[in-house]
């Protein structure tokens, strides 16, 4: 029998929450990819979004607010054979964890980062998240939002993410396809998921998005992928992705904005220094002999510090 990627934990998200669509997208993607359950791990931060790992029947950590990315990097780098999903909120990843979000672009570890973009802090009752526009006033706010917004797609591009996409949580078919491509990508992927929060965000509702979203892939000329062969077009593709990221109020693009296959992942870069890294990564290495003694020779290893006999 095929593995059921949904766990038996009862979901306690509000009815109508966009998070349900994301969970569906994830389980469908890993099921269709026929991944073994022990080959996948999921890491989240804190928030409504942060509960995701408990609802999935794979190894999962529900970490600290803002810290899902570095936890996930540790899992991935220690055992690079794993597919590692990150499922966190916009507050989690673009406010308290923004430093990690940006730093991950430099690393390009090979994570699939799913950003639950509801423009609010769901779990703390609807304060403005960094993705909410200036002057917006949802029902949870006593005053219009005094902050400007961060554009997650543009920020991911600027930070160096090599796969940048957007999904809509009420279009699980497209979302699932994007997640599959992201999981197959050797590098870190950002998927910004438009995720209505009917409880606190009465502006960006499912209907609001439905009227605006369109698919980049519907334009037959849209090709966001950079490979060794078309590297000459890299800047052009990057610019196009950036310009697309600016579309919002009237029409909102979804699909893959940018995919760069020419930048080595962090795991490949480590293998450049430690040749055995991919075949014998930290998680797989033996550390003692059968009697329990160290296998590391102190003097041979630190021979540069030796004061030799005359």
């Amino acid at each position: 029998m095929a593995h059921n990627f949904r766990s038996d934990v009862a979901i306690d998200w509000c009815p109508g929450c966009g998070d349900f669509g994301i969970i569906t997208g994830i389980t469908q993607a890993i099921t269709e990819m026929e991944l073994k359950p022990e080959e996948v791990a999921v890491v989240s931060g804190i928030g409504c979004s942060g509960k995701t790992p408990h609802y999935l029947n794979i190894a999962g950590i529900h970490t600290l607010h803002g810290r899902s990315i570095p936890f996930a990097v540790g899992v991935k780098l220690s055992n690079p054979g794993l597919k590692v999903l990150v499922t966190s909120g916009d507050g989690d990843m673009l406010s308290i964890g923004a430093g990690h979000f940006v730093a991950e672009g430099r690393r390009n570890t090979g994570l699939t980062v799913i950003l639950y973009d509801n423009e609010v802090y769901g779990l703390t009752k609807g304060q403005a998240a960094p993705t909410m526009g200036l002057g917006m006033q949802t029902k949870s706010l006593t005053k219009p939002n005094i902050f400007g917004k961060i554009n997650p797609i543009a920020l991911a591009l600027a930070s160096g993410y090599t796969f940048v996409a957007r999904g809509f949580s009420f279009d699980t078919k497209q979302l699932k396809e994007i997640i599959k491509k992201a999981l197959a990508h050797d590098g870190t992927a950002l998927i910004d998921v438009l995720q209505p929060c009917p409880t606190y965000n009465n502006i960006n509702t499912m209907e609001w998005y439905r009227k605006r979203v369109y698919k980049l892939e519907d334009d037959k000329g849209w090709n966001p992928t950079i490979t060794k062969e078309n590297e000459a077009e890299a800047i052009d593709k990057y610019q196009k992705a950036y310009v697309k990221s600016l579309e919002w109020e009237e029409r909102i693009p979804t699909g893959i904005f940018y995919e760069n296959k020419t930048i080595p992942s962090f795991t490949k870069r480590i293998a450049g220094f430690v040749p055995s890294y991919l075949s014998n990564p930290p998680a797989k290495q033996q550390v003692s002999d059968s009697n329990g003694f160290t296998i590391v020779d102190p003097v041979k290893t630190f021979k540069d510090k030796l004061v030799e006999s005359a």
Binding site: V9, E38, E39, A41, K51, P53, H54, I58, A59, I61, H62, T63, L64, G66, R67, I69, P70, F71, A72, V73, G74, V75, K76, L77, S78, N79, G81, L82, G99, H100, F273, V274, P275, Y277, N280, P281, P282, A283, Q285, Q286, V287, S288, D289, N291, G292, F293, T294, I295, V296, D297, P298, V299, T301, F302, K303, L306, V307, E308, S309, A310
Partner: protein
């Protein structure tokens, strides 16, 4: 000068290669068969400010440093000014004759407060505010200035006008020639320092020879030390020791964000990340390697190390006070979720950025209390380079065996102390793994059915389980059920009882010296060495002092400590902090109040001479508290 015990201060501008001179000197002593210890003191500055190495060489093993120095070697005028208090009867002061007219008021790199102090000292004695004036003042204290023309000696052999490049070598060579270390040994040092750079080696050797010719012409050179049989030893700093111990202890994943004095450990791990297997069984093993990641901040460093630990890697991070503060929340997570992770905490002067390159032991109470909520942890401390090696191995073991965060304290003084380690015993500490559960669908990461509180572990990549910072059930899912909460809290703390029971008391505290001595000096960390040297000085005078040396603060050996202290007549606490933090721990855990205190918090290492005086003062009954203030 006593050839069996030589104390040297060599100073110069930061970035000017003082470390290189010190390595040459230290190695030459070691090659000649002597034992050495040295400490690096430096400003938080890259180029220009005063830095120095304080070194001591002895036939037997020196464990501490002392003032006055037998030799003060000044590679710049500032060194003469800065060390005016470190000169005593018979101290030879080696300097470049061109420094003599240097004016204190022009010495911009001397900190304003220090400059004022020096000025005051010179003015009080009626000396001019120049190096010459200071040398006069030093003479009055019994110092013997020896003017050397750096350029003169170097120009004998270097004709291309690059003299300044050789000042370090010259300083080292003059020093060694004066104390009677044969030329061949510094030449060996030069070859070590410059490695394969043949073109650099030969002119440096020429400079050495010129320096030795100079010294013998002036007949400064004392009779050469007798040759001793040399055995292979490693010359390591505390940072190196911890790095080596981690590699031996099975570390395979290390994260860090650069910070003094911790990053040198991560650099040492990275430099040796390829590791050499010991042979025998391991000869057929596939090559391995430690993954070292420089992270974007310390929060990332600790959380990344935790993530790696979940896949079964033995993982760790290293930091200092400011970074450790940032790690607090994640350490609480590691406690809650029973993640085996080691944080090597290099203590430097706080609060805040404090004295970023200076010694301190002010983070003990913080290490014991970092992170919100109540959770089990183990806190250990090392006192010399050799201990750093084995303690680093033990720290990784404790983390695995008890599935919790381990904080390994090393003070800056120890991190930057260089010592010779005779032979590293690869069998002294076993590499202990955790109890691992059988794989399967019913795996419970937080299984309550465990007497010792240790639930068998599993790994991402092999098992399916969950983790959350929230209170959780046996599977790792969120719960707020009051009974499950109690059971999980109690299970977690049962591990501490187990650890306390299983870890032998010798690994927690030690009596060093005569067990029957009625005076007990309580200390921890890098004072271990100086306390021993001073106790020996007292022993020679017929005064018996034993040392209660603390190594583990959580779990704390309360019964043992109380027994020792309550049987002592005089107890003196010795620490490098202001509050006497270890004494506070003792009071809290045992109820015993230590009456006498010797502390130092100016960031400099404690020297033998000042500690001796401090103990004398307390034993004379004149005072109950002494603050040590030595050090430039």
């Amino acid at each position: 000068m006593p050839e069996s015990d030589i104390s040297i201060v060599i100073g110069g501008p930061q970035g000017g290669g003082i470390d290189t001179s010190a390595t040459m000197i230290g190695r030459a002593f070691a090659y000649s068969g002597m034992n050495v210890i040295s400490v690096r003191e430096f400003h938080s500055n890259i180029k220009g400010r005063h830095s120095y190495v304080h070194l001591r060489a002895r036939k037997d093993v020196p464990r501490s440093l002392k003032f006055p120095a037998d030799l003060l070697v000044a590679l710049d005028p500032d060194t003469i000014f800065e060390h005016f208090e470190d000169v005593g009867k018979g101290t030879k002061i080696i300097y470049d004759s061109s420094f003599e007219n240097s004016d204190l008021n022009q010495a911009r790199m001397i900190m304003r407060d220090t400059s004022k102090k020096i000025k005051n000292h010179l003015e009080t004695g009626g000396y001019p505010l120049t190096v010459k004036g200071m040398l006069e003042a030093m003479k009055a204290r019994g110092g013997i200035p020896i003017a050397v023309s750096f350029d003169g000696i170097i120009s004998e052999v270097i004709k291309d006008g690059t003299n300044a490049r050789y000042y370090n070598t010259l300083g080292a060579a003059i020093t060694l020639s004066i104390v009677g270390i044969p030329e061949e040994f510094i030449i060996e040092s030069i070859k070590y320092v410059f490695g394969s750079k043949e073109k650099v080696i030969s002119p440096n050797i020429e400079v050495v020879k010129s320096a030795y010719r100079f010294s013998s012409s002036k007949s400064f050179a004392s009779t050469p030390t007798e040759k001793v049989n040399r055995i292979p030893k490693l010359m390591l700093t505390g940072n190196d020791g911890a790095a080596l111990g981690k590699l031996m202890g099975g570390l395979r994943f290390q994260t860090y964000y650069p910070i003094t004095p911790a990053s040198d450990e991560s650099s040492a791990i990275e430099e040796h990340q390829a590791m050499e297997w010991i042979g025998g069984e391991s000869s057929s093993l596939e090559k391995g390697g430690v993954t070292v990641v420089q992270t974007e901040d310390e929060i990332s460093a600790i959380t990344m190390a935790c993530g790696a630990a979940l896949t079964g890697s033995r993982s760790a991070t290293a930091t200092s006070g400011p970074g450790f503060s940032l790690m607090a929340e994640a350490i609480s997570f590691a406690g809650m979720d029973e993640i085996p992770v080691v944080v090597t905490l290099y203590q430097r002067g706080g609060p805040s950025t404090g004295l970023p390159t200076r010694n301190s032991q002010s983070d003990l109470l913080f290490a014991l209390n970092t992170g919100h909520g109540e959770f089990p942890r183990i806190v250990i401390s090392s006192g010399d380079v050799e201990e750093c090696i084995y303690d680093a191995m033990k720290a990784l073991n404790y983390a695995q065996r008890y599935q919790l965060p381990v904080i390994h304290l090393i003070d800056k003084n120890l991190a930057n102390t260089t010592q010779l380690v005779d032979s590293v015993d690869a069998k002294k500490v076993k590499v202990e793994g955790p109890a691992i559960a059988k794989s399967g669908p019913d795996f419970k990461r937080y299984d309550l059915n465990t007497k010792n509180g240790i639930s068998k572990t599993g790994y991402f990549g092999r098992d399916i389980f969950w983790m959350t910072g929230d209170e959780h059930d046996e599977l790792g899912h969120v719960t707020e059920d009051p009974d499950m909460r109690d059971s999980q809290m109690e299970k977690r703390f049962r591990k501490m009882e187990t650890a306390d029971r299983e870890i032998p008391v010798e690994d927690k505290a030690e009596i060093i010296g005569d067990k029957k001595a009625e005076t007990t000096l309580v200390t921890w960390g890098s004072q271990k060495g100086v306390a021993q040297d001073v106790a020996q000085m007292f022993a020679k005078k017929g005064v018996k002092i034993k040392i209660l040396y603390l190594k583990m603060f959580e779990p704390f050996p309360s019964d043992f400590v109380l027994e020792v202290l309550s049987k002592s007549k005089t107890v003196i606490d010795l620490e490098s902090n202001m509050l006497g933090q270890a004494a506070q721990v003792i009071r809290m855990k045992t109820g015993f109040k230590i009456e006498n205190q010797i502390v130092k918090y100016n960031g400099r290492h404690i020297t033998e001479d000042e500690l001796y005086e401090g103990i004398e003062k307390i034993m004379s009954g004149k005072t109950k508290k002494v603050v040590l203030r030595n050090g430039a």
